[in-house]
Symmetry: C2
DNA sequence: CTTCTACTTAGATGGCCTTCTATTCAGGAG
DNA sequence: CTCCTGAATAGAAGGCCATCTAAGTAGAAG
């Protein structure tokens, strides 16, 4: 028994992903699988106050405003960020639950170095994959 | 100070991703951002013995063998899996470090519920993003 | 050596995706 | 009201990607 068959690894390595689950996750992953969108998500998430104005984002890239707007829409459609207009500017913020869902997919892979497992149930949302 | 500016969230929300880092991560994410490849990765990772023969994978999909082979090559090129031929069959296995790298990107996002942070340094590889 | 099976490579096709320019919408200022 | 700025939408062009069929390679078996 090389693998204990209990819960040992990342959800993705625990049991085969159902077809529909994979399709749903792929939508989110596809939104993040772009250098520009990945940086946008990172810039929004790391911005002071947890939110960033579009005007803070456009200057960083050699892209036109409509292109940035398009990428933001992709992220928003995938449920990763949310936008709100306040006066002249539009502010975007990360939706933590969505990001956590991606993290939980790959996160706790014990791998070749089986850690002492000292933080079993701390209130994480590791298994909340299906109730999308 | 709404955000402590210390290490609080997922790496992606801690500081803006560098351009090159985002490009490298996007390659890996793009490999995973496909329903078929996501299921392939899951099937390989969850297979008994930690490895799966190609013949075990082809039957699950309504796709031709060359298409499956193509997807496996994408996953292998991205560094997510590794393949080995033993006799007649070819066996693929997951590369845990690569999957961990994706997990670490999104994983420990405290989000709206700041947990007591009881598992600061357990030996995780959370910060091993840049030394790709 | 020939043949069969498992898998990969080569090349082509259709669709999706990123980016642009041009236009439109939303709010504030004069 | 009119003008200006910030942002989104519309539509088009070009490239990339998933999939297929056809052909090639690797190993076992007769």
């Amino acid at each position: 028994m090389t693998v204990p068959t209990g819960q040992c690894c990342a959800p993705i390595a625990r049991e085969p992903l159902a077809e529909q689950t994979a399709a749903e996750l792929a939508v989110m992953l596809k939104a993040v699988a772009d250098p520009v969108r990945l940086r946008l998500l990172s810039m929004i998430g790391s911005h002071a106050g947890g939110e960033a104005c579009v005007c803070d984002l456009t200057g960083t890239f050699d892209l036109t405003a409509p292109t940035i707007s398009h990428h933001l829409k992709v992220l928003r459609t995938a449920g990763l960020i949310d936008g709100e207009r306040r006066g002249t500017w539009v502010y975007y913020r990360i939706i933590p639950e969505a990001v956590n869902k991606l993290g939980a997919l790959f996160a706790p892979l014990a791998g070749s170095v089986p850690e002492p497992a000292s933080q079993a149930a701390v209130g994480r949302t590791e298994l909340e994959l299906l109730p999308a």
